[in-house]
């Protein structure tokens, strides 16, 4: 009996050691173990808030009070809500117009900065300033620039005799949209310019030399060498840029609070106003959740549209 126990214990010990030894050399197991901290952080700080937000959008939760499940009621209500659709329209206009301009100006700036310029490092640092300034500070600066009574633009144009009355920058719906888009472009261009500049510097000069020897013009150099080689970086940078612009909050909130008459309310600001200011967490969460499909589409377009490697390498697209 005692022998059997001893041998039983021995075999159990051997099998434990074997299991541990096996696991400690198992790449899949170790991979899983090392992934746990990162996964825990992602689950806790990204997945949980996201799913909680989606869950709240199906309830009538208010601040300070748990809600009850109301199904799609929040979404049904938003479907007929003029202000919600106005905010969707504003968000799309804001994102599309600002992103196109940011890309065009950013790429142009990157190409300029990639040339041999005197004081190149200094100029590159200066270009980054709008991106470095805290958003709220730049928003307040723009708020003064666009002030209905004290705008420096209106003041200058008046003194030059070009206009008689101050420009109503933030009081007229279309002016307000254009003014905010301009502020967003000013802020976002450096990010795109500097990132694309980094991409440009990875393009081998020998490609340009070869093309030049073949008689390529500057435009052909750009179109057949620079642009195709830059597309993976453009895909990444524009994905980020579209995401940042679509979810912008600070610029709008600091300058117009969504006014005049909701003409500059983005989905993010409207969601905040309804959820936090007015206390309707459920409805605010529904607005926030409604942003997700748009963001997914934006990501898909960027990734599947711009990351076609065959095309970049001179092959045919599928």
């Amino acid at each position: 009996m005692s022998q059997m126990t001893a041998s039983g214990a021995g075999s159990a010990g051997r099998s434990e050691r074997t299991l541990w030894q096996r696991l400690s050399h198992d790449r899949n197991f170790l991979g899983l173990v090392f992934m746990i901290p990162a996964a825990a952080i992602l689950l806790m700080f990204l997945a949980y808030p996201l799913f909680k937000g989606v869950w709240l959008s199906f309830t009538d939760a208010k601040i300070g009070r748990d809600g009850v499940w109301i199904g799609l009621e929040n979404y049904e209500w938003l479907w007929d809500d003029k202000i919600f659709w106005l905010s969707v329209f504003n968000t799309l206009v804001y994102t599309i117009v600002a992103s196109i301009f940011k890309f065009a100006v950013g790429l142009y700036l990157a190409l300029l900065l990639n040339e041999k310029l005197p004081f190149k490092a200094l100029i590159r640092s200066i270009v980054l300033i709008p991106f470095v300034v805290p958003t709220v500070l730049s928003a307040i600066a723009f708020w003064w620039i666009y002030d209905s009574q004290f705008s420096i633009i209106s003041w200058s144009l008046k003194n030059m005799g070009l206009i008689n009355e101050n420009i109503n920058f933030l009081g007229d719906p279309n002016n307000a949209r254009a003014s905010l888009i301009f502020a967003n472009i000013w802020r976002g261009v450096p990010f795109i310019a500097i990132t694309l500049l980094a991409g440009l510097q990875t393009v081998s000069p020998s490609l340009y030399e070869a093309a030049t020897l073949d008689g390529a013009t500057r435009w052909q150099n750009f179109w057949y060498i620079t642009f195709p080689l830059l597309t993976p970086i453009i895909a990444v940078v524009m994905t980020f840029s579209v995401l940042f612009t679509f979810t912008d909050f600070q610029l709008i909130w600091a300058m117009t609070r969504g006014g005049p008459v909701n003409a500059t309310h983005l989905m993010a600001t409207l969601g905040y106003q309804r959820a936090i200011m007015a206390g309707n967490l459920g409805e605010g969460s529904a607005i926030a959740t409604a942003m997700v499909p748009f963001l997914l589409v934006a990501i898909m377009v960027s990734w599947f549209g711009l990351q076609r490697r065959k095309w970049q390498q001179g092959g045919r697209d599928d």
């Binding site: 009070r65 002030d147 109503n168 005049p260 309804r274």
Partner: protein
């Protein structure tokens, strides 16, 4: 009973500041011994308050906080936030059960989460009895489900601010007391190129203030006394028409104004009549370069509309304590101490008309008589309706104000974005969602 008062103390003192402070401490100690609320041992109170506009008010407030702390041993941590940040922070605290013990906020803040706040009916009852009773709107704002959810410490009065010379030039000796006469004044100001202007943007204080006056003075309300949405009405239509006529006389750009825009324009001499607290006057008095404006400006009550009585929305500052506080007695003691005459009177005086008393006995405070330009603000707590108008004061009224339903309705119509029916139906739909 302590037999001195602050004035006699100050008179007899060589170093007024130092002795005033020690006198306050003596009083605080005596008060703490008699007070019915005995703070818990080693109590700490974290207080979140709105950021002060008048530095003297803040200094006086901190003085009494210090005296309370020394007399009772309660550790006091005071933090400030801008008007707009108070509500989200208080809401998060209410939701999570951690955060400041006391929040001193705006409008009907306690109505957003009445179940999460400490019942302070005993403090309110004690103070009301001692100081001549509360003004009705202050009481309605802070009472939820029959209990006092907060103490209405003060009201921030917003009234007509005008340049005396401009209205005289326009042929008026004073601001007309009726809405029709007021419109004529605004037209005359516009004709003289000395225009008026009121915020039509998302300005929490100013825009809600004057537009609720326009609405209510025409007998229109977002919801009726039973809490049923009543915004789509002939009275609202009249209010919208009146507002549009008034808007035609405004300085350009008011649709984008926030709470500070009219202050800037008035002090720059570009705006000649607007609605605001006493802060424009205080700023003009404090700056030698602007003294000419201070001398040439005065304040007036909002005109009376077709309903025939004052219908104002003034900003109430309720102070609430959360139920999760570990020091409920200390919180109640602090509220009672703050509102006691010995502290409240000098504090109210230091606020220089920016704040108005919610307890009737404090109508005798010298702040209302020492400068006649302050006197109008004395009526703020008396003339205001609760934020809900005639409807029951509850979280729905607070939500409607926070969502700018009334402001957007007027802005939609005045700027031509919606027609009369469209503006009312958008507001009605939003209101029905909240008042369902």
């Amino acid at each position: 009973m302590v037999s001195f008062n602050r004035r006699s103390l100050l008179k007899g003192a060589a170093a007024a500041g130092a002795v005033g402070a020690s006198g306050l401490l003596d009083f605080a100690k005596a008060w703490a011994q008699q007070a019915q609320w005995k703070p818990e041992a080693n109590a700490t109170l974290n207080v979140l308050r709105w950021k002060r506009f008048v530095p003297a008010e803040d200094a006086e407030f901190m003085k009494l906080v210090d005296a309370f702390s020394k007399a009772t041993g309660v550790k006091m941590n005071i933090s400030n936030e801008s008007f707009d940040d108070i509500q989200p922070k208080a809401s998060v605290a209410a939701n999570t059960g951690t955060g400041p013990d006391i929040v001193w906020g705006l409008h009907s803040l306690p109505q957003l989460f009445p179940d999460k706040v400490l019942d302070v009916s005993d403090v309110a009852g004690y103070l009301g009895k001692k100081y001549g009773g509360w003004f009705p709107a202050a009481e309605a704002t802070c009472k939820a489900k029959g209990k006092w959810a907060a103490i209405p410490v003060a009201v921030n009065g917003g009234y007509i601010n005008y340049r005396i010379s401009s209205i005289e030039k326009a042929g008026f000796k004073s601001v007309p007391r009726d809405t029709a006469g007021f419109l004529e004044l605004c037209k005359a100001l516009k004709a003289n190129n000395t225009p008026c202007g009121f915020a039509l943007g998302h300005a929490t204080g100013d825009a809600n203030g004057w537009l609720h006056w326009v609405l209510w003075s025409h007998g229109a309300y977002l919801a009726d006394k039973d809490g049923k949405v009543s915004i789509n009405s002939p009275e609202t239509a009249k209010a919208l028409e009146y507002c549009k006529a008034l808007y035609a006389t405004f300085i350009p750009g008011t649709a984008s104004w926030n709470d500070s825009s009219n202050n800037k324009a008035f002090l720059a001499g570009e705006l000649h009549l607007t609605n605001n607290g006493i802060s424009i006057y205080a700023a003009a008095k404090a700056d030698a370069a602007l003294n000419a404006i201070a001398n040439d400006m005065n304040h007036a009550e909002f005109p009376i509309g077709p309903v025939g009585k004052p219908q104002e929305l003034q900003l109430t500052f309720p102070m609430l304590a959360f139920r999760f506080t570990k020091s409920p007695n200390a919180a109640k003691a602090f509220m009672a101490f703050l509102m006691d005459a010995q502290q409240y009177n000098p504090w109210l005086e230091a606020a220089a008309g920016y704040l108005t008393n919610t307890l009737q006995a404090y109508d005798n405070n010298p702040v209302w008589t020492k400068d006649p330009k302050n006197t109008v603000f004395k009526n703020a707590a008396r003339n205001t309706l609760p934020a809900s108008g005639i409807a029951p004061v509850d979280e729905r009224a607070a939500a409607a104000i926070a969502d700018f339903i009334v402001v957007d309705m007027f802005a939609n119509y005045c700027t031509g974005r919606e027609d009369l029916k469209g503006a009312m139906s958008v507001a009605e739909r939003q209101a029905k969602r909240i008042y369902r």
